[in-house]
Point group: C2
Chain length 209, copies 2
Protein backbone atom coordinates (compact mmCIF):
# COMPACT_ATOMS: atom_id res chain seq x y z
CA UNK A 1 0.00 0.00 0.00
CA UNK A 2 1.04 3.59 -0.58
CA UNK A 3 0.08 6.31 1.87
CA UNK A 4 0.27 9.94 0.80
CA UNK A 5 0.42 12.06 3.93
CA UNK A 6 2.09 14.82 5.88
CA UNK A 7 3.68 14.33 9.26
CA UNK A 8 1.45 16.87 11.04
CA UNK A 9 -1.79 16.25 9.14
CA UNK A 10 -4.32 14.89 11.66
CA UNK A 11 -6.08 12.80 9.05
CA UNK A 12 -2.79 11.27 7.83
CA UNK A 13 -1.81 10.49 11.44
CA UNK A 14 -5.19 8.74 11.98
CA UNK A 15 -4.61 6.43 9.03
CA UNK A 16 -1.01 5.70 10.04
CA UNK A 17 -2.28 4.55 13.44
CA UNK A 18 -4.96 2.39 11.80
CA UNK A 19 -2.48 0.73 9.44
CA UNK A 20 -0.11 0.08 12.34
CA UNK A 21 -2.88 -1.35 14.55
CA UNK A 22 -3.71 -3.75 11.70
CA UNK A 23 -0.03 -4.65 11.33
CA UNK A 24 -0.04 -3.57 7.67
CA UNK A 25 3.12 -2.22 6.09
CA UNK A 26 3.01 0.66 3.62
CA UNK A 27 5.21 3.03 1.67
CA UNK A 28 4.92 6.59 2.93
CA UNK A 29 4.91 9.43 0.40
CA UNK A 30 5.18 12.86 2.01
CA UNK A 31 3.02 15.64 0.54
CA UNK A 32 4.30 18.94 1.92
CA UNK A 33 1.22 20.98 2.86
CA UNK A 34 3.25 24.09 3.62
CA UNK A 35 4.88 24.05 0.17
CA UNK A 36 1.48 23.43 -1.51
CA UNK A 37 2.31 19.95 -2.88
CA UNK A 38 -1.36 19.03 -2.32
CA UNK A 39 -2.36 21.44 -5.09
CA UNK A 40 0.11 20.00 -7.60
CA UNK A 41 -1.18 18.24 -10.71
CA UNK A 42 0.22 14.88 -9.57
CA UNK A 43 -1.57 14.86 -6.23
CA UNK A 44 -4.81 16.41 -7.52
CA UNK A 45 -5.15 13.47 -9.90
CA UNK A 46 -5.11 11.17 -6.87
CA UNK A 47 -7.38 13.37 -4.77
CA UNK A 48 -9.36 16.21 -6.41
CA UNK A 49 -10.00 17.76 -2.99
CA UNK A 50 -6.29 18.42 -2.54
CA UNK A 51 -6.59 17.07 1.00
CA UNK A 52 -4.65 14.37 2.84
CA UNK A 53 -4.38 11.45 3.10
CA UNK A 54 -4.80 9.21 0.08
CA UNK A 55 -4.22 5.48 0.45
CA UNK A 56 -3.54 3.43 -2.68
CA UNK A 57 -3.76 -0.35 -2.66
CA UNK A 58 -3.13 -1.67 -6.16
CA UNK A 59 -5.81 -0.12 -8.37
CA UNK A 60 -7.88 0.99 -5.38
CA UNK A 61 -7.44 4.64 -4.42
CA UNK A 62 -9.04 5.79 -1.18
CA UNK A 63 -9.55 9.20 0.39
CA UNK A 64 -11.01 10.59 3.65
CA UNK A 65 -9.44 9.18 6.80
CA UNK A 66 -12.60 7.70 8.35
CA UNK A 67 -13.63 6.06 5.06
CA UNK A 68 -10.12 4.59 4.81
CA UNK A 69 -10.27 3.27 8.40
CA UNK A 70 -13.68 1.67 7.76
CA UNK A 71 -12.28 0.12 4.55
CA UNK A 72 -9.29 -1.25 6.48
CA UNK A 73 -11.69 -2.81 8.98
CA UNK A 74 -13.76 -4.41 6.21
CA UNK A 75 -10.81 -5.74 4.21
CA UNK A 76 -8.51 -6.70 7.11
CA UNK A 77 -10.94 -7.53 9.94
CA UNK A 78 -8.46 -8.49 12.66
CA UNK A 79 -7.65 -6.81 14.96
CA UNK A 80 -10.92 -4.90 14.67
CA UNK A 81 -11.05 -1.10 14.78
CA UNK A 82 -14.79 -1.18 15.54
CA UNK A 83 -16.44 -3.28 18.26
CA UNK A 84 -19.16 -5.85 17.63
CA UNK A 85 -22.81 -4.83 17.97
CA UNK A 86 -24.57 -1.98 16.20
CA UNK A 87 -25.02 0.17 19.32
CA UNK A 88 -21.36 -0.14 20.38
CA UNK A 89 -20.25 0.66 16.83
CA UNK A 90 -22.52 3.72 16.68
CA UNK A 91 -21.06 4.96 19.99
CA UNK A 92 -17.48 4.66 18.71
CA UNK A 93 -18.31 6.21 15.33
CA UNK A 94 -20.05 9.12 17.06
CA UNK A 95 -17.03 9.78 19.28
CA UNK A 96 -14.73 9.65 16.25
CA UNK A 97 -16.96 11.98 14.25
CA UNK A 98 -17.07 14.48 17.08
CA UNK A 99 -13.38 14.95 16.39
CA UNK A 100 -13.44 14.53 12.61
CA UNK A 101 -16.48 16.76 11.97
CA UNK A 102 -16.72 19.14 14.93
CA UNK A 103 -13.18 19.85 16.16
CA UNK A 104 -10.51 19.17 13.54
CA UNK A 105 -12.09 20.88 10.49
CA UNK A 106 -11.85 24.24 12.25
CA UNK A 107 -8.09 24.01 12.60
CA UNK A 108 -7.43 22.76 9.09
CA UNK A 109 -4.48 24.61 7.50
CA UNK A 110 -6.52 26.10 4.65
CA UNK A 111 -9.15 27.34 7.10
CA UNK A 112 -6.57 29.02 9.32
CA UNK A 113 -4.95 30.60 6.24
CA UNK A 114 -8.32 32.04 5.18
CA UNK A 115 -8.95 33.50 8.64
CA UNK A 116 -5.58 35.24 8.57
CA UNK A 117 -5.68 36.47 4.97
CA UNK A 118 -9.35 37.49 4.72
CA UNK A 119 -10.36 38.38 8.28
CA UNK A 120 -6.91 39.66 9.30
CA UNK A 121 -6.98 37.86 12.63
CA UNK A 122 -3.93 38.04 14.86
CA UNK A 123 -1.78 35.08 15.92
CA UNK A 124 -3.38 35.31 19.37
CA UNK A 125 -6.90 35.23 17.91
CA UNK A 126 -5.91 32.22 15.83
CA UNK A 127 -4.70 30.30 18.88
CA UNK A 128 -7.87 31.19 20.83
CA UNK A 129 -10.02 30.03 17.89
CA UNK A 130 -8.21 26.66 17.80
CA UNK A 131 -8.38 26.24 21.57
CA UNK A 132 -12.08 27.17 21.67
CA UNK A 133 -13.22 24.30 19.46
CA UNK A 134 -10.92 21.78 21.12
CA UNK A 135 -12.21 22.78 24.59
CA UNK A 136 -15.87 22.53 23.59
CA UNK A 137 -15.37 19.15 21.94
CA UNK A 138 -13.12 17.65 24.61
CA UNK A 139 -15.41 18.78 27.45
CA UNK A 140 -18.29 16.84 25.88
CA UNK A 141 -16.12 13.82 24.99
CA UNK A 142 -14.89 13.71 28.58
CA UNK A 143 -18.54 13.26 29.67
CA UNK A 144 -19.21 10.57 27.06
CA UNK A 145 -16.15 8.39 27.69
CA UNK A 146 -16.48 5.37 29.94
CA UNK A 147 -13.74 4.52 32.44
CA UNK A 148 -12.18 1.73 30.39
CA UNK A 149 -8.60 1.77 29.09
CA UNK A 150 -9.92 2.48 25.59
CA UNK A 151 -13.26 3.79 24.35
CA UNK A 152 -14.48 0.41 23.13
CA UNK A 153 -12.93 -1.61 25.97
CA UNK A 154 -9.62 -3.42 26.08
CA UNK A 155 -8.17 -2.53 22.69
CA UNK A 156 -7.69 0.76 20.86
CA UNK A 157 -9.51 1.33 17.57
CA UNK A 158 -11.31 3.88 15.43
CA UNK A 159 -11.79 6.43 18.19
CA UNK A 160 -8.19 6.32 19.37
CA UNK A 161 -7.04 6.76 15.74
CA UNK A 162 -8.84 10.12 15.86
CA UNK A 163 -8.16 11.06 19.47
CA UNK A 164 -4.37 10.94 19.47
CA UNK A 165 -3.88 13.37 16.56
CA UNK A 166 -6.36 15.72 18.23
CA UNK A 167 -4.54 15.54 21.57
CA UNK A 168 -1.25 16.16 19.73
CA UNK A 169 -2.78 19.32 18.25
CA UNK A 170 -4.27 20.36 21.56
CA UNK A 171 -0.85 20.18 23.22
CA UNK A 172 0.78 21.95 20.30
CA UNK A 173 -1.65 24.86 20.67
CA UNK A 174 -1.36 25.10 24.45
CA UNK A 175 -4.65 23.52 25.58
CA UNK A 176 -4.49 22.60 29.28
CA UNK A 177 -5.18 18.87 29.12
CA UNK A 178 -5.45 18.50 32.91
CA UNK A 179 -9.11 19.49 32.52
CA UNK A 180 -9.72 16.26 30.63
CA UNK A 181 -8.35 13.44 32.79
CA UNK A 182 -10.08 10.58 30.96
CA UNK A 183 -8.82 11.79 27.58
CA UNK A 184 -5.37 12.45 29.01
CA UNK A 185 -5.08 8.96 30.53
CA UNK A 186 -6.36 7.27 27.39
CA UNK A 187 -3.90 9.19 25.21
CA UNK A 188 -0.99 8.39 27.53
CA UNK A 189 -1.90 4.68 27.44
CA UNK A 190 -1.96 4.75 23.62
CA UNK A 191 1.35 6.57 23.41
CA UNK A 192 3.06 3.61 25.07
CA UNK A 193 2.00 1.29 22.23
CA UNK A 194 4.24 0.83 19.19
CA UNK A 195 1.35 1.39 16.72
CA UNK A 196 0.95 4.91 18.11
CA UNK A 197 4.64 5.62 18.67
CA UNK A 198 5.48 4.73 15.06
CA UNK A 199 2.56 6.80 13.71
CA UNK A 200 3.53 9.92 15.69
CA UNK A 201 4.37 13.01 13.61
CA UNK A 202 7.88 13.14 15.05
CA UNK A 203 8.54 9.57 13.85
CA UNK A 204 7.85 10.44 10.20
CA UNK A 205 10.57 10.97 7.58
CA UNK A 206 9.11 14.38 6.65
CA UNK A 207 9.02 15.65 10.24
CA UNK A 208 10.64 19.03 10.69
CA UNK A 209 10.46 19.05 14.49
CA UNK B 1 -38.01 6.20 17.45
CA UNK B 2 -37.61 9.78 18.59
CA UNK B 3 -35.62 12.26 16.53
CA UNK B 4 -34.46 15.49 18.13
CA UNK B 5 -33.71 17.95 15.34
CA UNK B 6 -34.15 21.38 13.85
CA UNK B 7 -35.70 22.03 10.48
CA UNK B 8 -32.64 23.75 9.02
CA UNK B 9 -29.91 21.69 10.72
CA UNK B 10 -28.02 19.86 7.97
CA UNK B 11 -27.26 16.90 10.19
CA UNK B 12 -30.93 16.58 11.27
CA UNK B 13 -32.01 16.76 7.62
CA UNK B 14 -29.53 13.95 6.73
CA UNK B 15 -31.04 11.62 9.34
CA UNK B 16 -34.61 12.49 8.33
CA UNK B 17 -33.78 11.43 4.76
CA UNK B 18 -32.16 8.20 6.00
CA UNK B 19 -35.15 7.29 8.17
CA UNK B 20 -37.51 8.01 5.27
CA UNK B 21 -35.42 5.97 2.79
CA UNK B 22 -35.66 3.05 5.24
CA UNK B 23 -39.40 3.58 5.60
CA UNK B 24 -39.08 4.02 9.36
CA UNK B 25 -41.53 6.22 11.22
CA UNK B 26 -40.42 8.46 14.06
CA UNK B 27 -41.61 11.17 16.39
CA UNK B 28 -39.98 14.51 15.64
CA UNK B 29 -38.94 16.73 18.57
CA UNK B 30 -37.86 20.21 17.48
CA UNK B 31 -34.85 21.71 19.28
CA UNK B 32 -34.74 25.40 18.43
CA UNK B 33 -31.09 26.24 17.71
CA UNK B 34 -31.77 29.97 17.46
CA UNK B 35 -33.40 30.04 20.91
CA UNK B 36 -30.54 27.96 22.37
CA UNK B 37 -32.66 24.90 23.25
CA UNK B 38 -29.58 22.74 22.47
CA UNK B 39 -27.85 24.16 25.54
CA UNK B 40 -30.76 23.41 27.87
CA UNK B 41 -30.31 20.87 30.65
CA UNK B 42 -32.86 18.49 29.09
CA UNK B 43 -31.10 18.28 25.73
CA UNK B 44 -27.56 18.29 27.15
CA UNK B 45 -28.42 15.13 29.06
CA UNK B 46 -29.22 13.49 25.73
CA UNK B 47 -26.24 14.93 23.91
CA UNK B 48 -23.39 16.53 25.88
CA UNK B 49 -22.10 18.22 22.70
CA UNK B 50 -25.27 20.30 22.46
CA UNK B 51 -25.41 19.46 18.76
CA UNK B 52 -28.15 17.99 16.61
CA UNK B 53 -29.50 15.45 15.94
CA UNK B 54 -30.05 12.81 18.59
CA UNK B 55 -32.00 9.67 17.70
CA UNK B 56 -33.49 7.60 20.50
CA UNK B 57 -34.71 4.06 19.94
CA UNK B 58 -35.92 2.61 23.23
CA UNK B 59 -32.90 2.67 25.57
CA UNK B 60 -30.48 3.34 22.70
CA UNK B 61 -29.47 6.97 22.29
CA UNK B 62 -27.46 7.89 19.21
CA UNK B 63 -25.67 11.05 18.13
CA UNK B 64 -23.70 12.24 15.08
CA UNK B 65 -25.58 11.99 11.81
CA UNK B 66 -23.17 9.67 9.96
CA UNK B 67 -22.94 7.31 12.94
CA UNK B 68 -26.75 7.25 13.08
CA UNK B 69 -27.03 6.50 9.34
CA UNK B 70 -24.49 3.65 9.65
CA UNK B 71 -26.46 2.31 12.63
CA UNK B 72 -29.69 2.46 10.61
CA UNK B 73 -27.99 0.50 7.85
CA UNK B 74 -26.75 -2.16 10.29
CA UNK B 75 -30.04 -2.55 12.17
CA UNK B 76 -32.45 -2.12 9.21
CA UNK B 77 -30.43 -3.39 6.24
CA UNK B 78 -33.02 -2.95 3.48
CA UNK B 79 -33.07 -0.77 1.47
CA UNK B 80 -29.32 -0.30 1.93
CA UNK B 81 -27.77 3.14 2.37
CA UNK B 82 -24.32 1.76 1.50
CA UNK B 83 -23.51 -0.40 -1.54
CA UNK B 84 -21.97 -3.86 -1.36
CA UNK B 85 -18.21 -4.26 -1.65
CA UNK B 86 -15.53 -2.57 0.45
CA UNK B 87 -14.23 -0.33 -2.34
CA UNK B 88 -17.70 0.93 -3.32
CA UNK B 89 -18.51 1.56 0.34
CA UNK B 90 -15.27 3.48 0.86
CA UNK B 91 -16.04 5.64 -2.19
CA UNK B 92 -19.51 6.54 -0.87
CA UNK B 93 -18.26 7.15 2.67
CA UNK B 94 -15.50 9.41 1.34
CA UNK B 95 -17.98 11.48 -0.68
CA UNK B 96 -20.24 11.78 2.37
CA UNK B 97 -17.36 12.79 4.61
CA UNK B 98 -16.23 15.44 2.17
CA UNK B 99 -19.48 17.16 3.03
CA UNK B 100 -19.69 16.21 6.71
CA UNK B 101 -16.06 17.01 7.57
CA UNK B 102 -14.85 19.53 4.98
CA UNK B 103 -17.82 21.68 3.97
CA UNK B 104 -20.61 21.70 6.54
CA UNK B 105 -18.60 22.23 9.77
CA UNK B 106 -17.50 25.64 8.52
CA UNK B 107 -21.06 26.90 8.24
CA UNK B 108 -22.25 25.51 11.54
CA UNK B 109 -24.31 28.08 13.46
CA UNK B 110 -21.94 28.26 16.45
CA UNK B 111 -18.97 28.76 14.12
CA UNK B 112 -20.65 31.60 12.24
CA UNK B 113 -21.64 33.19 15.55
CA UNK B 114 -18.01 33.09 16.73
CA UNK B 115 -16.77 34.68 13.48
CA UNK B 116 -19.24 37.55 13.90
CA UNK B 117 -18.79 38.10 17.64
CA UNK B 118 -15.00 37.61 17.92
CA UNK B 119 -13.63 38.55 14.50
CA UNK B 120 -16.33 41.17 13.78
CA UNK B 121 -16.84 40.00 10.23
CA UNK B 122 -19.54 41.64 8.13
CA UNK B 123 -22.60 39.89 6.73
CA UNK B 124 -20.95 39.99 3.30
CA UNK B 125 -17.76 38.38 4.63
CA UNK B 126 -19.87 35.70 6.29
CA UNK B 127 -21.63 34.84 3.02
CA UNK B 128 -18.32 34.74 1.13
CA UNK B 129 -16.85 32.44 3.81
CA UNK B 130 -19.79 30.03 3.48
CA UNK B 131 -19.69 30.12 -0.32
CA UNK B 132 -15.91 29.61 -0.41
CA UNK B 133 -16.00 26.21 1.33
CA UNK B 134 -19.03 25.03 -0.61
CA UNK B 135 -17.37 25.95 -3.92
CA UNK B 136 -14.10 24.19 -3.07
CA UNK B 137 -15.89 21.06 -1.91
CA UNK B 138 -18.48 20.92 -4.70
CA UNK B 139 -15.85 21.49 -7.42
CA UNK B 140 -13.96 18.40 -6.21
CA UNK B 141 -17.13 16.33 -5.71
CA UNK B 142 -18.22 17.21 -9.25
CA UNK B 143 -14.98 15.59 -10.49
CA UNK B 144 -15.45 12.50 -8.31
CA UNK B 145 -19.09 11.76 -9.17
CA UNK B 146 -19.85 9.20 -11.84
CA UNK B 147 -22.66 9.83 -14.36
CA UNK B 148 -25.22 7.56 -12.70
CA UNK B 149 -28.54 8.75 -11.30
CA UNK B 150 -27.15 8.40 -7.77
CA UNK B 151 -23.59 8.17 -6.45
CA UNK B 152 -23.80 4.42 -5.77
CA UNK B 153 -25.91 3.58 -8.84
CA UNK B 154 -29.66 3.19 -9.10
CA UNK B 155 -30.74 4.07 -5.57
CA UNK B 156 -30.00 7.01 -3.28
CA UNK B 157 -28.20 6.35 -0.01
CA UNK B 158 -25.63 7.70 2.44
CA UNK B 159 -24.13 10.24 0.06
CA UNK B 160 -27.47 11.67 -1.03
CA UNK B 161 -28.48 11.98 2.67
CA UNK B 162 -25.54 14.39 3.00
CA UNK B 163 -25.71 16.03 -0.42
CA UNK B 164 -29.26 17.35 -0.33
CA UNK B 165 -28.87 19.33 2.90
CA UNK B 166 -25.64 20.79 1.53
CA UNK B 167 -27.30 21.79 -1.75
CA UNK B 168 -30.15 23.34 0.26
CA UNK B 169 -27.59 25.44 2.13
CA UNK B 170 -25.72 26.32 -1.05
CA UNK B 171 -28.90 27.67 -2.61
CA UNK B 172 -29.83 29.48 0.59
CA UNK B 173 -26.48 31.28 0.57
CA UNK B 174 -26.54 32.16 -3.12
CA UNK B 175 -24.07 29.64 -4.56
CA UNK B 176 -24.48 29.38 -8.35
CA UNK B 177 -25.24 25.68 -8.75
CA UNK B 178 -25.03 25.80 -12.56
CA UNK B 179 -21.29 25.26 -12.14
CA UNK B 180 -22.00 21.80 -10.77
CA UNK B 181 -24.26 20.05 -13.28
CA UNK B 182 -23.80 16.51 -11.92
CA UNK B 183 -24.60 17.61 -8.37
CA UNK B 184 -27.50 19.74 -9.58
CA UNK B 185 -29.04 16.88 -11.58
CA UNK B 186 -28.57 14.38 -8.74
CA UNK B 187 -30.19 16.76 -6.25
CA UNK B 188 -33.13 17.45 -8.58
CA UNK B 189 -33.70 13.71 -9.04
CA UNK B 190 -33.71 13.20 -5.26
CA UNK B 191 -36.08 16.09 -4.70
CA UNK B 192 -38.74 14.27 -6.70
CA UNK B 193 -38.72 11.35 -4.26
CA UNK B 194 -41.05 11.33 -1.26
CA UNK B 195 -38.23 10.39 1.17
CA UNK B 196 -36.50 13.65 0.31
CA UNK B 197 -39.63 15.78 -0.04
CA UNK B 198 -40.83 14.76 3.42
CA UNK B 199 -37.40 15.37 4.96
CA UNK B 200 -37.07 18.86 3.48
CA UNK B 201 -36.72 21.71 6.01
CA UNK B 202 -39.88 23.35 4.72
CA UNK B 203 -41.87 20.19 5.41
CA UNK B 204 -40.99 20.19 9.13
CA UNK B 205 -43.39 21.32 11.85
CA UNK B 206 -40.78 23.75 13.23
CA UNK B 207 -40.10 25.39 9.85
CA UNK B 208 -40.32 29.17 9.95
CA UNK B 209 -40.06 29.67 6.19
Amino acid sequence: MDLYGYFRSSASYRVRIGLNLKGLSYDYHPVNLLKGDQHGEHYRKLNPHGLLPTLNDGDTSLTQSLAILEWLDETHPEPALLPKGAEARAYIRALAQSIASDIQPLQNLRVLKYLVSEFKITEEQKILWIQQWIHIGFAALEKQLKPTPFAAGDTPGLFECCLLPQVYNAERFGVDMNQYPKIQTMAATCNELSAFIEAHPQSQPDSTV
